[in-house]
């Protein structure tokens, strides 16, 4: 028994190392004072400073933020409304499983299929208006499309855990629909909405595939920039950029974790 425990521990540690070595090495080279080679030449923050002087990177960072913020706001709104509508409307029971499936599909469909479908859809839309040329607007719409499903799923699970009895109590206590929504449903739902928004934001920040298929020449985001740069040559600047993106993601994830834990304790 002891031996097996030891074996499991060692495997776990190896797996962790396996998972984190690539990330750690990127961070390592981002502060290494040499442009080429694998040898440690001393600590520097030059590569980080250079990042902030690179117009293209700053532009890409700006695009990434605009895309993530706008798509998160819209998808949080839509996802919340969708979740409330799905859960609180007295659908017939058969309809429920269909709705469930519809909601889960965008989540489990491979990104690449989703992206290809977007290309087709925007092809149609382009015939109607030149607004739908590849670019930031298309990217925002595409991101909203897949984020909404994620937000709706998170919000819906929160709705289910709140249950219907509290809302019935509110109606029994003379609350009309607006009052019920403002004073009971939304306050109780807020942790779910915030968690959904944070998830949507991280997904948008890190998305490559869908952005790649919908971006135009002027709407390069950080993941797209990194991809393009790496294909030419891997510079320590890219390591620095990757490390920054990674750190933002990690901070988001930690915040989300903290937040949900706090809410659960309460």
């Amino acid at each position: 028994m002891r031996k097996i425990n030891l074996l499991v521990s060692i495997t776990a540690i190896c797996t962790m190392v396996f998972l984190y070595i690539p990330l750690l090495s990127v961070a390592f080279f981002s502060v290494n004072d040499t442009k080429y080679g694998m040898v440690w030449k001393g600590f520097t923050l030059d590569w980080y400073l250079k990042l902030f002087q690179n117009e293209m990177i700053l532009h890409a960072a700006w695009n990434t933020l605009v895309l993530a913020i706008v798509s998160t706001i819209v998808s949080t709104l839509l996802g919340t409304i969708l979740a409330i509508g799905m859960d609180r409307f007295p659908w017939p029971r058969k309809m429920n499983t269909t709705l469930d499936l519809i909601l889960h599909l965008p989540v489990i469909i491979p990104d690449i299929i989703f992206a290809a479908a977007m290309v087709v859809a925007f092809g149609f839309l382009r015939a109607l208006s030149s607004m739908f040329e590849p670019g930031l607007l298309n990217m925002i719409i595409a991101h909203i499309t897949f984020q909404t499903a994620f937000v709706a799923l998170v919000v819906r699970s929160r709705l289910v855990s709140i249950g219907k009895e509290v809302e019935e109590a509110a109606r029994d206590l003379y609350a009309d629909t607006t009052y019920l929504l403002l004073k009971v449903t939304l306050p109780l739902l807020m942790p779910g909405i915030v968690a959904g928004a944070m998830l949507a934001f991280t997904l948008s920040l890190d998305d490559f595939v869908i952005s790649f298929f919908t971006a135009g020449p002027d709407s390069v985001t950080l993941p797209l920039y990194i991809y393009a740069a790496v294909r030419r040559v891997v510079t320590p600047q890219i390591h620095a950029l990757s490390t920054l993106v990674l750190m933002v993601t990690i901070i988001m994830v930690i915040c989300m974790e903290r937040f949900t834990r706090k809410v659960n304790i309460k």
Partner: protein, 341 residues
């Protein structure tokens, strides 16, 4: 016209008849209890009175006014839910104030009424706390306060004590009864606990399979059950089968004299265990010779099983009885309930 009238209420879920043709008058100011086993439709009936569920057919009249089609927010009826359903994000004060605030009652009046209600239910110290910081018994009183502060014409309570432990429950039952008598408000309680129903109620309606099968005062339903179900659901009963002829009831245990002749030829009588007396000498009427086969000591009384039968007997004034003793059982005619269904 005062009080609440239910007329021909029906409700079906799929192919389950949850409530079937219920017509019942509930007087103003009475403590009325719907008593029945789990799944008999009590909650469904209560929810239709509250306006949280729409009946398939039937009419509901409150103080002479038809409210059949009104939604919950337009009925002056409030509910204490089985799970209390308190608002977890609001403190106790705001929980209780909810029904007043949603109707835009002015602030100072809200303050006054909430404080008064909280004082009445001994929750004055708890106003700033949240439901998850209170005990089950305290939360139950908050749920009660939240409903009562609105001065409803009818207060509905759906098994409000099912989450409390037995000792607290017994205490709360008495307190609830006192509260209702002090306020003089109409209470409708749902429970599956027969003791609870007997303790708190002015009148009890016994439900089974969606129908009310008997209603009356606690004394009436306990002492004159209409049928086997009511006799057995409200406490224990010795049910004895037999035929009635020549002015007497003939059974396997012997011949009984009844107070009034029954309406049937063949049927059941019920005798509650505590109605049977033990006697050393042969009683002049309905005496049965029996042997003690089993005994359980309960402190306040002694439960006996006797053969033939087996007959169950409960006594509090027992002498020295042993298993195997032969005794006379005295089942006086006035202690025998004739089941008419």
């Amino acid at each position: 016209m005062k009080g609440l009238q239910l007329r021909g209420i029906n409700k079906t879920y799929g192919n389950v008849k949850a409530v079937e043709d219920v017509s019942q008058e509930i007087h103003s100011g009475e403590f009325f209890t719907l008593l029945g086993p789990s799944g008999c439709g009590k909650t469904t009936l209560l929810r239709m009175i509250a306006g949280l569920e729409l009946q398939d057919s039937g009419t509901i009249i409150l103080e002479g006014e038809e409210i059949t089609a009104l939604p919950a927010i337009r009925r002056q009826i409030n509910t204490v839910f089985q799970s209390y359903a308190l608002f977890p994000h609001l403190n106790i004060f705001e929980n209780v104030a909810f029904g007043l605030r949603s109707r835009k009652v002015p602030g100072p009046e809200v303050d006054k009424r909430v404080k008064k209600t909280l004082e009445m239910l001994e929750l004055g110290q708890m106003t700033k706390r949240f439901p998850h910081q209170l005990s089950g018994g305290q939360n139950q009183r908050v749920a009660l306060a939240r409903a009562l502060v609105n001065e409803p014409k009818v207060l509905l309570l759906d098994e409000p004590m099912s989450a409390l432990d037995a000792k607290l429950r017994a205490q709360v039952q008495v307190e609830l009864r006192r509260l209702q008598q002090k306020l003089g408000q109409t209470f409708i309680l749902v429970t599956h606990d027969q003791d609870e129903a007997l303790v708190v109620s002015d009148r009890i309606a016994v439900m089974k399979d969606g129908k009310i099968i008997q209603f009356g005062t606690p004394v009436e339903v306990y002492e004159s059950p209409k049928n086997k179900f009511v006799a057995e659901f409200l406490g224990t009963a010795n049910l004895i089968e037999g035929t009635y002829h020549d002015g007497q009831f003939h059974t396997e245990l012997g011949i009984f004299e009844l107070e009034k002749p029954p309406s049937w030829k063949k049927g059941l009588i019920a005798i509650r265990p505590e109605w049977i007396r033990i006697s050393d000498t042969k009683p002049d009427k309905n005496g049965i010779r029996a042997t003690v086969t089993e005994m359980i000591y309960r402190g306040t009384n002694l439960d006996l099983w006797l053969s033939p039968g087996p007959i169950r007997l409960r006594t509090s004034t027992y002498k020295n009885i042993q298993i195997g003793d032969q005794v006379w059982l005295d089942m006086a005619p006035k202690e025998i309930a004739v089941l008419n269904e």
